[in-house]
Symmetry: C2
Subunit: 401 residues, 2 copies
């Protein structure tokens, strides 16, 4: 077929690393070449007019891992859907493969520079909130669905005034019969203003705008018009076209990226697309914060992989601003020291049920979370700190540490 | 937890059928309840303020299949991303599950009516093209990438003038350095006009607009302004937010939906989201045509499932217009009788390599495809028909039948 270039050294190529298992009756080499063909310029049969210089190059095959280099001309600058339709498109459905997983992807500078990256990055978020070193402490309004805007307003005040920096809608909270988007934005942002005048703290509310792109634009404008600093998008169920359009508006607002549905294709270590790839694309497009897992808690997530992803999001990357990792899913105060130890300080820690479910209520839940973070930053064990911090003490009693 | 309602009979609910495997140490019942909780109003711990009437109801568990009914108030009308963030969101990443697959989903009339369905449906496409009974015969320009607009123009004339009804860009053809979107649209649409004046046939060109939503809107307007009848979107890599926005513009153009990347989450029968669910959402939003598989050919696809999906797309569904299934992937003339026998006449048959790779060139490839369809419609075997149709004869010699 002509896609085999073992030993080729990629320079200005997009490079993909795939795990693959070929079907019986096909050699690994043929399978690898077919992946390279289908994801670049070829198909199952040779056709006239093929420009071989555009073909992808298989440059390494080893232990079910194939590495493929793609000439940059195969990709439209600044177009994530086109990239994915190439390297993560038809290849997942080919009969000659039993399994295929896009493990990793890397880009040359020129391609990266065709994207904007975050408009508001990790450092901007720290400046905005005045929180210099410690993790930001966030919460998700719970129950996930059912609260009215008025109820959210009351809850917002309870948690912000007791030390929470950041609140967010849950991933499935749209504009509901019982909770219209505009109503809750107005009410929660009023509380944000209240906290600012009472405590001088700039707290953040991530309003979930997930919808059709036109509606997301309308909702983002609405948040902006009401002084909001942050919009939240379920980036995978909304999709890359919508996310790119929102980013490209330069709203100067935090884009909080929720990854709901990622497990549908990241779960199987032998098939699909890795979370690392999603993380790279998210920073490329330009989200401020991305859910990457809490290591501990109710959601799956391999510790080594999460650490690697978090480190990538916070590393130098051709001048793109940094994305802050969001640790979320089944978090409660007792888990904080471990989360910070593993993931570092440059994170947002989200605690939902582990705050609202506190036996003494939301105010105590907020205080307990803040105490757990403060203790950890001061190098004091939670049990020690709990001796004169009753809320933390109760949280530990309730859920352990 | 309170999500178990065995024997409940759904009425105005959204109903999901999941395949699931629970982790060891958890009962099937607990796992099922956790799926219902996480995809509706709950989390890992009870929180105050929960409105149980909004909770999802597990009404059947049997052989690793759980059926869950969701009150309609959990969903924002006309918002696919919000739906998926609920029923196909966090649930795929829960530690208490080994595997989870959303097999099927059904909607009450009220929810369906909150979407528009196709603007141009199957019947409109038949009226537009004047093709009353037989399948439409389409081709994908090949090689996938590398052709210039001028080369596409020449190829377009070759295939349209020899009986092809419908041509399309490949899924990874964006606006490339060697092939700008606007240039190829102008050139190929000129050929479409030429064919109309020469042969009186309205042929179709599906121009791939896949990009950020704002860019897709611009490209769709461009196609419309130049008299085009069809836009193509890679609906899964672009995402639902973008697709919904394009559909809601009422362009009165065919929306050709390519499903590149679906295999990342449809491939594993035990985990992810089924193609059937994608097909239902696609018709709901309103695509004119959807790639569903060719049964035969280079791509995976279970025959029974494809037939079921194709039948759904063409069935009565609360008054929504019909979506035409597109059979594509490794098709060549010899496969036509089988494809039509299995999938019926109301399809678009796409043939890429099996046309362009014809030993006598593209004109012969186009004729051979048309001959294969004509023979099948007349009830004549391809071998018989090939006796006085040389192009078909050669295709059969090349690839079999």
């Amino acid at each position: 077929m002509g896609y085999m270039h073992l030993g080729y050294e990629p320079r200005n190529d997009v490079v993909c690393e795939f795990y693959f298992e070929h079907a019986s009756g096909v050699s690994a080499k043929i399978a690898a070449e077919n992946i390279a063909a289908e994801s670049s310029i070829g198909t199952w049969v040779d056709v006239p007019g093929t420009k071989k210089q555009l073909g992808a190059k298989v440059f390494s095959i080893k232990n079910n891992i194939v590495k493929i280099a793609y000439p940059l001309d195969l990709f439209e600058p600044g177009n994530v859907p086109q990239l994915l339709s190439s390297v993560a498109g038809n290849v997942f459905g080919m009969k000659i493969l039993k399994n295929l997983r896009l493990n990793d992807i890397s880009f040359p500078k020129k391609y990266i520079r065709s994207f904007k990256g975050p408009n508001i990055g990790l450092n901007d978020l720290r400046k905005m909130t005045g929180i210099k070193k410690r993790p930001l402490i966030g919460t998700i309004y719970k129950p996930k669905l059912g609260l009215s805007p008025g109820e959210m307003e009351k809850l917002a005040y309870k948690v912000y005034s007791n030390g929470i920096d950041y609140t967010k809608d849950d991933e499935n909270l749209g504009s509901m019969r019982f909770n219209k988007f505009e109503d809750r934005v107005i009410k929660v942002l009023n509380v944000v203003d209240e906290i600012k005048s009472e405590q001088g703290r700039q707290v953040v509310y991530a309003a979930n705008i997930t919808a059709s792109t036109d509606e997301m634009l309308r909702r983002a404008e609405f948040v902006k018009d009401h002084g909001g600093k942050c919009i939240m998008i379920d980036i995978l169920t909304a999709g890359w076209s919508g996310l790119q359009t929102i980013r490209n508006q330069n709203f100067k607002m935090i884009i909080h990226a929720h990854r709901a549905s990622h497990g549908a294709f990241t779960h199987n270590p032998k098939h699909g697309i890795s979370m690392k790839v999603i993380a790279k694309l998210s920073r490329l497009v330009g989200v401020t914060g991305l859910h990457t897992g809490a290591v501990v808690g109710k959601m799956k997530g391999d510790e080594r992989e999460i650490v690697e992803i978090d480190n990538f999001l916070r590393s130098e990357w051709y001048g793109l601003k940094k994305t802050i990792p969001i640790a979320s899913g089944g978090v409660y105060p007792g888990l904080i020291p471990k989360i910070i130890k593993i993931l570092g300080n440059d994170i947002i820690i989200n605690c939902g049920g582990g705050l609202w479910g506190h036996s003494m209520g939301a105010e105590a839940g907020a205080k307990a979370m803040r105490q757990a973070v403060d203790a950890t930053m001061e190098g004091i064990s939670l049990k020690e700190y709990a001796k004169d911090h009753g809320e933390l003490k109760l949280a530990i009693k309730q859920w352990g540490c």
